[in-house]
Amino acid sequence: MKRDNRGFTVIELILSFIFVFTLAFSMYQLLFSYRTRQNTESIRSQMLDYRDQVTLAIQNDIVEKNLKSIESCYIGGNVVNRCIVLNFNDNTKKKLSVEDGTVTYDGNDYDIKYIKYDNIIYQSPDAILLEFGNGYIYHETQEADEIENDITIYRISIPIYHNDLSGNYGINIVAPAYNYTQGGTSGSSKPVEPAATKTADGTKYAGSVTEIQNVNAKSQLSVIARVKFDNSNFSSNQHFFGNWAMGGFGLSLKNQKACFGTYLSTGNQNNLSYKEICSDALSADTFYTIVGVFDKASNKILIYVNGASKELAIPANSQIVDSDLKLAIGGNIGRIKNTNYFYGTISHAIVCNANVSSKVSSCFNNKVDTNCYESNVDEYKKKCIVDVDLIKK
């Protein structure tokens, strides 16, 4: 019978031992580094949770109430820059500070620092090992005049470091503040709007909006307004009649020209586009009859000012995208921060599901004839879905 005499030799035994030892050592290193990483990640996760908790509390207020300004405050001690007050547009204030405290751990007392916002203490589970940057709270202000005259940018930062981690795990918040000097439509910051005043030649607007009704028009459309712009605000761009907001249409004054703009689509969601046609330059303190036309038949949009027209070709099969907003006079309620209010007088605001340009234009071939304009528009009344007479009778 054949015998198998194979077996370990001493050399093989040594080689095998070295191999197994190397393998075990490698595994140990791997497990050790994994364990270290796990511990680090656990601390990091706590730090991120802490940061997110404080950030969320502050950001919720900023988003909901809108930040108006930030000012420094003093809570005693030798350290400055450890307290700020956030002023919001609803005239509420909330204090954000880094304060001192003591915790007992393993029978020893430790001085710690924690964040306090709106009288709520935010203390990290690893508070003993936290280090706050010198000065604790930094806040910077980019003055409005250096950017735009109605916006200020604030930055709040509270650098926080952990003894076992590298890097800054602190609070870092950027918040623009809109200074609502002439109105606004956003949230609680909306100021009281001045009422529009009706006069014998029309309704005078100065930073106010009148909402009328929902209007959705996809085919032929004429938007008519008889309007006069105040000289004092004539250089400002102004929305005076429309319902734009990623849909809809409207008339506006841009660079002292009358413009008709509309959001168009050819049915494909990715083909949404804004098309706008503007007139020649206008003058202030003069009544103009302005007509914006969406002419589906000839694939054009047109603007008529006292009969003089300009046109812009649009893609075939375009249709006006529905707007979620009501038609409005005096501004555009779709704007987050409405700086485009109308300053002037408007006597008529009309929307027709028809192209009334030929009739309206004929009134102005030789001179501005308000009676002609009004009588001809009357012919189209049955096709006009909005007809607002803003003259005080």
Partner: protein, 183 residues
């Protein structure tokens, strides 16, 4: 009589076992290291700071007629901007430049796409080779990975596709965030 084999381990056996063990380690290394990298990348996706900062950009884009100027048109499923090209497009250039500057939001790129991201992702996929070579001006490996990780997003009920879009912001610290945007 046939001679017994008394050689113990054969060299060939040692090599085979060595190769097997090496292959095992290589397999583990190749599969575990990318997972660690992927985990670190995911930490930078839609962070709380990133989302709130994106909301500031979203608010700025929804002002005035900005959206009409920045949305993709004509068969393209996205628009990509550097801070400079975006701010040059908007009415409030000074504010935009200051806001996106490294001192404040520290933005690298801003992308606008439709609410649903499937077409956008497909279009970026066609640029993959160029992006991976580092030859694309607006996308790199990090932004490619983030875009491909995005959900497809279904249409909110009772809304129209045309009014909803998505703004994606790539920050210089490697963070990404996206929000829907509707003017």
């Amino acid at each position: 009589m046939k001679k017994n084999n008394e050689n113990g381990f054969l060299l060939a056996e040692a090599i085979v076992v060595g190769v097997f063990v090496l292959s095992l380690f290589t397999f583990l290394f190749v599969n575990v290291i990318p997972l660690v990298g992927q985990y670190e990348s995911l930490e930078k996706y839609d962070t709380i700071d990133g989302v709130y900062n994106t909301n500031i950009i979203r608010t700025m884009l929804m002002e005035d007629d900005n959206m009409a100027k920045v949305l993709p048109t004509g068969g393209t499923y996205y628009t990509a901007f550097t801070p400079e090209t975006l701010c040059d497009t908007l009415d409030r250039r000074n504010y935009c430049m200051k806001l996106l500057d490294s001192e404040y939001l520290n933005v690298k790129f801003v992308y606008l796409t439709s609410y649903r991201t499937n077409s956008f992702k497909a279009q970026i996929e066609t640029l993959k080779d160029e992006i991976m070579r580092g030859d694309n001006d607006y996308f790199d490996r990090a932004s490619y990975d983030y875009i491909q990780s995005l959900d497809g997003f279904s249409q909110p009920s009772g809304t129209t596709y045309a009014n909803y879009h998505r703004v994606i912001v790539y920050y210089n610290n490697g963070e990404f965030a996206n929000l829907e945007i509707k003017a």
